[in-house]
Amino acid sequence: MVVEKNLTMLNRAGMHLRPASKIVSALRDLECEVEITFDGRMANAKSIISLTQLLAPQHSVLGVTATGPDARRAMMALERLFREKFGEE
């Protein structure tokens, strides 16, 4: 199963270490691959290092593609994290 969506970084600081680690934790036990693209860069959403090199600031729109049996659950979890600004301002 493949689920695709655009998600917007709403938190002020953008994709720094904490949001990245929250994304990795949310996806850890899900059976799927999640790819996030921004500004020509591509990241594996299960890696903190990979997510941070996206250099995605506030208001940036990220392309998210989840592939695998848990793709839908993964996307729901991500939508929630992005919507809730990763628990930040």
Binding site: N44, K46, S47, I48, S50, Q53
Partner: protein, 319 residues
């Protein structure tokens, strides 16, 4: 379309091009869209049919002295015709004096002119390298790239399988990290792929339980490398009891990246298996193969020779 602006050419670092702008700064934002170079040659004799205006135009001694040896009216005609092509930019080598008529028409058509003290051949070699790098097809891959005994080893595998831990073990054994988790890949010539880390994350690793570490600060300059050619791909997979893994190594497997086939080793992961040792040995084995020694094939040949000899002596023995 990929492109390089003339400004970037004039500011290029690390390639020792020595290019300085000497005319028509209005054209600095012109875009070079073809990585090949044009040695102008006959283009400055009035025969401009094969001048590709998207290429950097190189003027050496031949072109400049040919122009200077023409009558004034002819120089005017040639320069008018040539610069009307609106070529992207001109580079003059050997710090040659630039004829006034050349400058005038360059200014008229806003064609930037750069000059270097390098001889034409040297300039063309370096400029080609620079442009090839900038126009190279690139891609990102999730994996770890290390230099193990000088062999560029790319470790692939699912998240959490232990790539970073394996890499850390290799660093502790004195090998060098290029990038962890994200490797930017680009062609370096038709048959070579080079990898490096993204500027912001390079030399950093995430080790579960410890967090982010900086390998350069922790282990020093000898533990890292900026860029490395890929020579071997090691794929870590979860050990499954009903899958038969390579036991003899007679068959060669490959992994294709950016159209280049690289030797592939599939390593099953199981608790108690020291992956770094196996990766290190794989790199040594790769070096042996480069030298023409293939252990499995050598062993097989020895075995077959022995079996043939034994069969013959069996046949000779009286019943």
């Amino acid at each position: 379309m990929p492109h390089v602006s003339v400004r970037e050419l004039s500011e290029a670092k690390g390639f020792d091009l020595g290019l300085a702008l000497v005319g028509a700064p209005q054209g600095l934002e012109n875009k070079v869209t073809d990585p090949h170079l044009q040695k102008v040659g006959l283009g400055i004799s009035g025969y401009t049919s094969f001048v590709n205006k998207n290429r950097v135009q190189v003027f050496g001694k031949t072109e400049i002295s040919y122009l200077e040896n023409q009558a004034a009216i002819e120089q005017e005609r040639i320069c008018q015709q040539y610069f009307d092509l609106n070529v992207v930019c001109c580079v003059v080598t050997r710090n040659l004096d630039i004829p006034a008529v050349f400058r005038r028409h360059a200014e008229r058509t806003n064609t930037p002119v750069l000059r270097t003290e390098l001889p034409t051949q040297t300039l063309m070699e370096r400029l080609s390298k620079f442009l090839d790098g900038r126009f190279a097809q690139t891609t990102n891959i999730h994996g770890v790239l290390l230099d193990v005994f000088g062999v560029g080893v790319l470790i692939l595998g699912e998240s959490g399988i232990g790539k970073s831990e394996c890499a850390l073990d290799l660093i502790l054994r004195g090998h060098r990290l290029v990038s962890d988790d994200v490797v930017e890949l680009a062609h370096g010539g038709p048959l070579a792929v080079y990898g490096r880390g993204p500027e912001v994350t390079k030399y950093h690793m995430e080790i579960r339980g410890l967090g982010i570490i900086n390998v350069k600060e922790m282990f020093g300059i000898s533990a890292i490398r900026d860029r490395k050619k890929l020579q071997l791909v090691v794929k870590l997979v979860i050990w499954e009891n009903d899958v038969e893994y390579d036991r003899i190594g007679l068959e060669e497997h490959t992994y294709r990246i950016l159209g280049v086939d690289l030797p592939l080793i599939v390593l099953p992961v199981r608790p108690g298996r020291t992956l770094s040792t196996i990766v290190e040995v794989a790199a040594r084995n790769h070096l042996l193969k480069l030298e023409g020694f293939h252990a499995a094939k050598e062993f097989q040949q020895k075995l077959l020779a022995k079996l043939t000899a034994d069969a013959e002596s069996q046949a000779e023995e009286p019943e």
